[in-house]
């Protein structure tokens, strides 16, 4: 029924204040723990390891008191891509990515070569995708953009001193990107509604007529890009009008203070990642 309510499915970049333990963590430690967990997800190739991570992440979602259903709703738009990816992996992937186990051929015909390894890869990468999306959603759902900026900036500060790495600018770019995801979803929704109201068709005629289908997107894309450029320009003007100079010599309004809680949280994340990565899961 809500065919145009796009914002409903964008969970990345939203913030839901519940005041939970996860919300209150020091952003530096939260980011570090997040990075550790992302690492664990990326390098875990076994079913059991992924299952453990999934349970852990679901536990974190419960701890954050953000409804699990809401976090999972962000998966919906990605579902077609996930299915396509899985299909390709099952049908075409042959080499053994877990080294050590043997692949058994299930089915072979022309270029299609389906093996047990392909099936495993499909399942594991789908699980990874779900885990990564949930982690990212969880981070932004429980952290305000200001906190994120401070966290990123402070984490990269040593690099800035040593190698002149633009930590502040990086933090700013990340913040702006995340901040504008929901805005653009909202804007796209408005544009789609406006064009549909004057006769636009969301490309339903002729499944295989790609040129026509792409052309049918132009009425949405052109205004969206124009709007994005206009917004960027306005943002630049607003920043310049306030004499924005970047990070050099700036002091902070909010100083971050870490507590024992934060250290424990990071420790738990490292422990979990180490367990998942070092234990030789049987399958």
């Amino acid at each position: 029924m809500d065919e145009f309510e796009l914002l409903r499915y964008v969970t990345v970049g939203q913030y839901i204040p519940t005041g939970s333990l996860i919300h209150r963590l020091d952003p530096r430690f939260k980011l570090a723990a997040f990075a550790v967990l992302v690492g664990a997800v990326t390098f875990t190739g076994s079913y059991l390891g992924n299952a453990v991570l999934l349970v852990l992440i679901v536990g974190l979602v419960f701890l954050s008191r953000v409804p699990l259903r809401y976090v999972l709703s962000g998966l919906r738009p990605a579902l077609p891509v996930l299915l396509l990816l899985a299909a390709l992996q099952i049908l075409l992937y042959t080499p053994d990515f877990t080294r050590g186990t043997n692949c058994t051929t299930l089915f072979q015909f022309w270029i299609i070569h389906s093996t047990t390894c392909g099936v495993k890869l499909a399942i594991v990468s789908a699980a990874r995708f779900v885990e990564l999306l949930m982690l990212t959603s969880l981070l932004t759902l429980t952290t305000t953009t200001t906190e994120l900026t401070h966290g990123i900036e402070r984490l990269f500060a040593p690099l800035q001193q040593r190698f002149n790495f633009p930590a502040h600018e990086l933090a700013l770019i990340v913040t702006i990107t995340l901040r504008f995801v929901p805005t653009f979803a909202e804007e796209l929704e408005r544009i789609v509604k406006a064009q549909v109201s004057r006769g636009a068709d969301l490309g339903q005629r002729g499944r295989l007529r790609f040129i026509q289908q792409t052309r049918a997107l132009l009425p949405m894309l052109v205004p969206l890009f124009l709007g994005a450029l206009r917004r960027a320009e306005e943002l630049i003007l607003a920043m310049e009008a306030r004499c924005y100079m970047g990070g050099k010599g700036r002091t902070r309004l909010i100083e971050l203070h870490s507590t024992r809680q934060d250290v424990v949280a990071l420790f738990v994340a490292v422990l979990a990642a180490a367990t998942v990565l070092l234990v030789p899961w049987p399958w």
Binding site: M1, G199, P223
Partner: protein, 300 residues
């Protein structure tokens, strides 16, 4: 009485339903429009008027309550919304953002082309629509859209929906962000659409502005409900305090006559225009005789 073309009963709508950001927008709205009528929907930002009008061409479907527009029952999931959208045009707030073609003529032609009309028919409709909004067909069809002024862009966007030849036209905040000259021009244009095209018009506004005077009936919305309805005269003559309760600012003219009446001058409280107020005040002060107008007072 002509037929009822829009009938809304007990309509409720909640945005982001089923998420933590759930926000109720409509809490039981009754609303109807007859053919050929001009209706104004008034209310403060966030009162639900934009949500209501999005139900009228099927952009939103009723979550609770009934919506019927022309012969289309929006409660029926299989209703042909595409056909409905050809007959009910909706122009969003700040519609100049929806222009996407390089040339004005092409942008206006977008709707008719989507209908699959012949070249000649499309051309005729673009000509008709551009002339209707006061932009000459020959002068404007080959102009680049991005070179137009804000007011011209808005008129091109309006032409874009008129080219669909709708029966019902919904204008969401048609005057927002225009300068006084642009506003006057657009009010005049809407008046012509009403009298010459015989369109059924639904005007959405957050302010008691000039365009509201074109309406036959007004509905005032607050907090997801219709709280007041009547002719513009009935609405404008409400005590300013009552209007303020619904987040509406009374126009300066009505505020002035209300203040005078409160102070004990025997004036009628339902003056809508400066001219009316001037002659009414003159009458009350015993300066009657010749009819007063603002122009005659300012000329001397």
């Amino acid at each position: 009485m002509s037929e009822v073309v829009v009938e809304v009963r007990g309509l409720e709508h909640t945005y982001m339903r089923g998420t933590p950001m759930e926000a109720p927008s409509l809490k039981g709205v009754d609303f109807d429009v007859r053919r050929g009528e001009t209706v104004a929907l008034l209310g403060h930002t966030g009162c639900g008027k934009s949500t209501l009008v999005q139900h009228l061409n099927g952009l939103l479907r009723p979550q609770k309550g009934r919506v019927r527009v022309l012969e289309y029952d929006l409660n029926d999931p299989k209703v042909d919304v595409k056909a409905l959208r050809r007959r009910v045009a909706l122009l969003f707030q700040n519609p100049e953002a929806q222009l996407f073609e390089r040339y004005v003529g092409d942008d206006v032609a977008f709707g008719p082309r989507q209908l699959g009309l012949s070249r000649e028919e499309v051309r005729a409709r673009v000509r008709e629509a551009l002339e209707a909004v006061g932009l000459g067909f020959e002068a404007f069809k080959d102009r680049l859209t991005f070179t137009l002024s804000g007011g011209e862009k808005r008129r091109v966007a309006l032409a874009g929906v008129l080219a669909l030849r709708p029966e019902i036209l919904v204008l969401d905040e048609p005057l927002a962000g225009l300068d006084p000259a642009g506003r006057r021009h657009l009010v005049e244009l809407i008046r012509r659409l009403k009298s010459e095209w015989g369109l059924t018009l639904i005007l959405v506004s957050h302010d008691l502005e000039d365009v509201v005077l074109l309406a036959d009936r007004c509905f005032v919305m607050a907090d997801g409900r219709v709280v007041l309805s009547g002719t513009p005269r009935e609405i404008f003559s409400q005590p300013p305090a009552r209007l303020a309760e619904f987040g509406l600012q009374p126009p300066a003219v009505t505020a002035a006559v209300h203040a005078l009446a409160e102070a004990g001058l025997g004036v009628r409280r339902d003056c809508l225009t400066v001219d009316e107020a001037v002659s009414e005040i003159a009458r009350a002060l015993g300066m009657g005789g010749k009819p007063w107008t603002s122009s005659s007072c300012c000329a001397t």
